[in-house]
């Protein structure tokens, strides 16, 4: 049984490795996520953020601008996840009152 699990896991890892070597190489400035224009001639998010973050929010740290403004709803979701964790722990561990 254990051997079968390890075999499944190894083949899964092998599959991922085969896929991973077809990804753009590490550090490629022209990979689809890093370049400035995609195949549809539209803007790519990463390059747009680099070029416009300071102009849009007067904030030098691009990550902060993306976190709080461009993708602000992700961060609201993150805050709600934190809140959910707090409520979940309260719900699970607080002794029953009354």
């Amino acid at each position: 049984m254990k051997a079968i699990h390890i075999l499944v896991l190894a083949s899964f890892a092998a599959l991922l490795m085969v896929a991973a070597v077809h990804l753009p190489r590490r550090g490629d400035p022209n990979s689809p996520a890093n370049r400035a224009e995609n195949v549809l001639k539209g803007p790519v998010a990463g390059a747009y953020y680099i070029q416009n973050a300071y102009l849009d929010a007067k904030t030098p740290n691009m990550v902060t601008v993306i976190l709080a403004d461009y993708r602000g709803f992700d961060t609201l979701g993150e805050t709600v996840v934190v809140f959910a964790g707090g409520v979940a722990c309260l719900y699970l561990l607080r002794r029953r009152t009354s």
Partner: protein, 155 residues
């Protein structure tokens, strides 16, 4: 061994300060510095790594450290047990409310350039808006982590 540990831990937290004065003094002395660092990290998130979440974790770490050294009873003065969850809700509300304010003033949700502050251009408004919502994140993260610690301990 394990049971002894557990009892020791709980007794320390229920009854009061632990025996060693060195630990006591060190923790009390260290806590304000951690808090200052947390506030710095929160306010300086615009210019360097940092921001609401990291600042919130640092503030929570300082208070958790006080809880560990002073005991649950004494550290109640700093952050009462009942407070964290309403405070976390308040933090998330600051965030959600800022977005809602922008929406009520005519923009999309979370579009800070529509915030009703006079005499600021959109870029500055975004700067301010980011600061406000980071404040909400800080409060929420800080109080939630303290709440998780309290609940894990008090279960």
């Amino acid at each position: 061994m394990n049971e002894v540990n557990r009892d020791l831990l709980l007794r320390r937290h229920m009854e009061g300060p632990i025996v060693s004065p060195i630990v006591h003094v060190c923790c009390r002395g260290l806590a304000p510095f951690i808090q200052i660092t947390g506030l710095y990290v929160f306010f300086h998130g615009h210019y360097s790594p940092g921001g609401g979440f990291q600042g919130g974790v640092l503030l929570a770490a300082s208070i958790i450290m006080l809880r560990m050294s002073l005991g649950l009873a004494d550290s109640q003065r700093i952050m009462p047990n009942r407070l964290p969850i309403p405070l976390a809700a308040l933090g998330a509300l600051i965030y959600a409310g800022t977005g809602l304010l922008a929406m009520l003033w005519g923009g999309s949700y979370l579009d800070y350039s529509f915030l009703p502050l006079p005499m600021l251009d959109p870029a500055m408004l975004r700067y301010v808006g980011i600061l406000v919502i980071e404040l909400g994140v800080t409060i929420c993260v800080m109080s939630t982590l303290i709440s998780i610690y309290d609940n894990l301990l008090g279960s």
